[in-house]
Amino acid sequence: MAALTQRAGEDNPLAPRSKRLGEKVILAVLFACGAVSVVTTVAIVLVLANETIPFFRDVSWQRFVFDTEWQPFGSDLDVVRLGIWPLITGTMHVTVIGLLVAVPIGLAAATYLSEYATPKVRGTLKPTLELLAGIPTVVLGFFALTTVTPFFRNVLGFEGIDFFNSFSGGLVVGVMLIPTVASVSEDAMTAVPNALREAGYGLGASKSRVALRVVFPAALSGIVAAIILAMSRAVGETMIVALAVGSRPTITLNPFVQNQTMTGYIAQSVGGEAARGSFQYEALFAVGSTLFLMTLALNLIAAAVVRRYRQEY
């Protein structure tokens, strides 16, 4: 459609003599709709900065980065501990466990749906997985806290598991990510041209060899992008971890004890002590900025992987 605008220029004898005013107004309105998204991004950055900058006026960045405890409660700024690391390691617990669940299962599901399933089976399984993706995360959080954790504690008798723990949260985050990993990497695998598969069969390869050694590597860029996107969603997931992981951030390797993520801290602390203007309120935005930068970096890397390594068939 862009070409039409250019042809309707000055030197075109068929161009209307007077441009209609109404058309211009409508165009301006539609442009404004498109611009809302840019304004949103600018607003996110400004709002985060607006509270994060005062935070770092009170708290040195060294303290934020190097302190190993996060205990922001109380009014005395010299006593509270404001090191971001416990929240980051808590986030990493959930992300790593989630990916350990979602990547193998999601990739296997993608391989099955793209290479093995008949159209009929595919037509039933895909919408069911989409249904899983549509379950609100607060519902999954309920599931993690009231079903998954009791299952491990009572049914399997794991005494060492806290009521709140990053293990259950991570498992359920992994389940939430299965549809993401499966559908993005299935798209990449379906895009691999049939000529490659036929070449594999022609050389005497079996079905599984073609799927795992021909199609899978050919779709690798899309698969890597799917995994990074899943990682970004795990880092940003809030309600599952707010319900199931707890509220005591700790630097530990043990996934069975209570912990807290960056998102969990934000969700759990807004109602409490964090009145506007207090350093707790500013700390929310400092944590939010860290979270925003991490997910932005992951999303940009995923986009770059797709752009850089995409095979055009």
């Binding site: 809302v36 709002v47 749906l113 549509g134 379950i135 499966a182 809030t238 932005l296």
Partner: protein, 301 residues
């Protein structure tokens, strides 16, 4: 020569017996099938568990009562249910025109330049921003700078911004699916570009757009994190109506969140009842979306 004595047995799979090969193929196939079913099984367990626990408290009184922390039989989700309906209304009014307008601009009118490119990259990136960060945006901008309070309006505006990228992307798909012949026909008859867009494209693309918009809306009403950060609570003030824009508000996901945290298992059962209500609403909306999608695929091609 030494090379002839080393038999090429390095890759056993190449020369394995057909019987072994068939068995291995079957194993891999079953493994992949089993992995695909994991998600489905978890979904089934989740639904069975929620229904088993939650049906007990689900009746008309549950939908019309206020939340209670004392007597489970009196507890309800009326503020959450009405709050969710109010939020839906606000989000629909705000996000559909904005999203469809942006999609029309990008598909039909935008020149191919750096500004357009910036808008497109930007929408893709916004879709990846965690919802809790939108909550901070709402808390900082609508509650803080614009001073709307922890109100229904602040929550609604936050959700509008949250689902805008989803609505733009699906609306663009719907517009792309309209055949070019319609555009050329309209312009060829001397219609202006807006007349062509409004009278020819929009009716064709509308069912697809509605599908996307409803799916976006169903995502919005399931979100708890952003409105929790903006300041949604379990109940609203006794005398306020569900549509008081500047009053304290609630929503079903918030009710679920608060009931789940209750140490008393009875109240966790009430959370399950609230989940049934929420999932029922989502199922209804998805049904409507699928109805429009089927109408869209029957349309003129």
């Amino acid at each position: 020569m030494a090379t002839t004595t080393t038999a090429p047995t390095t890759d056993r799979a190449t020369f394995e017996q057909p019987k072994h090969r068939a068995r291995r193929e079957l194993r891999i196939r079953l493994g992949l099938q089993a992995a695909t079913l994991v998600g489905v099984v978890v979904l089934a367990v989740l639904l069975v568990r929620v229904l088993a626990v939650g049906l007990e408290f689900l009746d008309w009184g549950f939908l019309t009562s206020l939340p209670s922390r004392i007597d489970p039989s009196q507890a309800g989700v009326s503020p959450g249910l009405t709050g969710t309906l109010s939020l839906m209304l606000i989000v629909a009014i705000g996000s559909f025109p904005l999203g469809i307008g942006a999609a029309l601009y990008l598909e039909e009118f935008a020149p191919k330049n750096r500004l357009t490119n910036l808008i497109e990259t930007n929408i893709a990136n916004l879709a990846g921003v965690p919802s809790v960060v939108y909550g901070l945006l709402g808390a900082g901008l609508f509650v803080g700078i614009l001073d709307l309070g922890r109100s229904l309006l602040a929550g609604g505006l936050t959700l509008i911004l949250l689902i805008l990228p989803v609505i733009i992307v699906t609306s663009r798909e719907a517009i792309k699916a309209v055949p070019n012949a319609l555009r050329e026909g309209g312009l060829g008859l001397g219609a202006t570009r807006w007349q062509t867009t409004y009278k020819l494209l929009l009716p064709q693309a509308l069912p697809g757009m509605i599908t996307g918009a409803i799916l976006g809306l169903s995502r919005a009403i399931g979100e708890a994190a952003p409105i929790l950060v903006v300041g949604a609570t379990s109940a609203r003030f006794r005398n306020s109506s569900p549509l008081d824009l500047l009053e304290q508000f609630s929503a079903l996901p918030i009710n679920i969140y608060n009931y789940t945290f209750d140490p008393d298992p009875t109240f966790q059962a009430i959370a399950a009842s609230a989940i049934i209500v929420l999932l029922g609403a989502l199922l209804l909306m998805n049904g409507i979306a699928i109805y429009f999608r089927n109408r869209a695929s029957k349309g003129v091609r």
